[in-house]
């Protein structure tokens, strides 16, 4: 447990997750239109909220990515990342149970990039675990030496 609360564990996990989220957000921020098609492909949402999700979600990914990479408000970013990853994992798992291999829209904005949904769920789980650690197990404060009386 002490290793999970070590400041360097948090720096490394934050940098790794942050880099993944920045990479994932890049294409979607530049052009969210193909993401509309990809979210549609999950067949989970009614048509209305698909568009706002495609407009705003990439920006949230970008901001939490920058925050985790730099350490700026990392716990709050990790809490939001946990929410995002939990949502992605549940959406993928539902389609995996349905037997549908969706284009996940994780790193590519191509709707033709369909992959095995169960493998995508398995790929999300370590990232979800890292986000939970960053959120719920804040790093230990460095010990300060007690001042000696002169």
């Amino acid at each position: 447990m002490s290793l999970l609360r070590h400041p360097w564990t948090h720096r490394i996990l934050g940098a790794a997750l942050g880099a993944v989220f920045l990479y994932a957000a890049h294409d979607k921020v530049l052009d969210p239109r193909p993401l509309v098609t990809i979210i549609w492909g999950y067949r989970l949402l009614p048509p209305g909220p698909i568009n706002p999700m495609a407009i705003y979600m990439p920006w949230l990914e970008l901001l939490v990515g920058v925050a985790m990479l730099t350490g700026f408000k990392r716990r709050a970013a990790a809490m939001l990342t946990t929410g995002l990853l939990a949502m992605f994992t549940v959406a993928l798992a539902i389609n995996a149970v349905r037997g549908i291999n969706v284009a996940c829209g994780c790193f590519s904005t191509s709707a033709q990039d369909a992959q095995n949904a169960w493998l995508l769920v398995l790929r999300d789980l370590p990232m979800l675990a890292a986000a939970v650690i960053l959120w719920l197990l804040p790093p230990r404060e460095p010990r300060t030496q007690p001042e000696r009386a002169a």
């Binding site: 921020v29 052009d31 969210p32 239109r33 193909p34 509309v36 098609t37 549609w40 492909g41 009614p46 048509p47 209305g48 909220p49 698909i50 568009n51 706002p52 495609a54 407009i55 705003y56 990439p58 920006w59 949230l60 901001l63 939490v64 925050a67 408000k73 716990r75 709050a76 970013a77 809490m79 939001l80 590519s108 904005t109 191509s110 709707a111 033709q112 990039d113």
Partner: protein, 158 residues
């Protein structure tokens, strides 16, 4: 709770940035979805390979190629006579003259930069929803055209 306040800050920044960038010229995505199905082959477009597209270009009188890549890439190299029409610019660049030209063409072929043709399929759907016949989408995009050794207009370096 400080963490909740920080998270709300991220959400607020997301709303501001997302809204601002979606209001930028040529970037607008409808704020609320209207239930348009994803583009479907055979309904919104037909895929065509580069050799067949080139044969069609040489044998039919009016075949219009639409290039969805950014303007500098189009200027550098393109299918001979191709029209530049990036998807985000469709509302601005699809003038009545161009619409008339596309409606009266023997065939319209859309191509882009990537081997995946999602953007081209979305543009094909946009054209079909504007009352045009389903266009062709070039499988493999411009890289496949070039790899096939087919004719291309290239910018001359001075």
């Amino acid at each position: 709770m400080r963490i909740i306040r920080d998270a709300a800050l991220f959400v607020a920044a997301t709303l501001v940035l997302g809204t601002a960038f979606n209001l930028a010229p040529g970037r607008h995505v409808e704020w609320w979805g209207h239930g348009i199905e994803p583009p479907a082959a055979g309904v919104d477009f037909q895929l065509i390979d580069p050799a067949s597209a080139d044969a069609m270009r040489l044998s039919l009188p009016t075949v219009v190629f639409i290039d969805t890549r950014p303007e500098p890439e189009v200027r550098a190299a393109r299918v001979p006579g191709a029209v530049s029409l990036p998807l985000p610019e469709v509302d601005r660049l699809l003038t009545p003259e161009l619409t008339h030209r596309l409606r009266n063409a023997d065939a319209v072929v859309i191509y882009g930069a990537a081997e995946e043709t999602d953007v081209e399929q979305l543009l094909a759907q946009q054209l079909r929803l504007r009352g045009m016949a389903p266009p062709w989408v070039l499988a493999g995009g411009f890289p496949a055209w070039e790899a096939s050794g087919l004719e291309a207009d290239r910018e001359r370096s001075s």
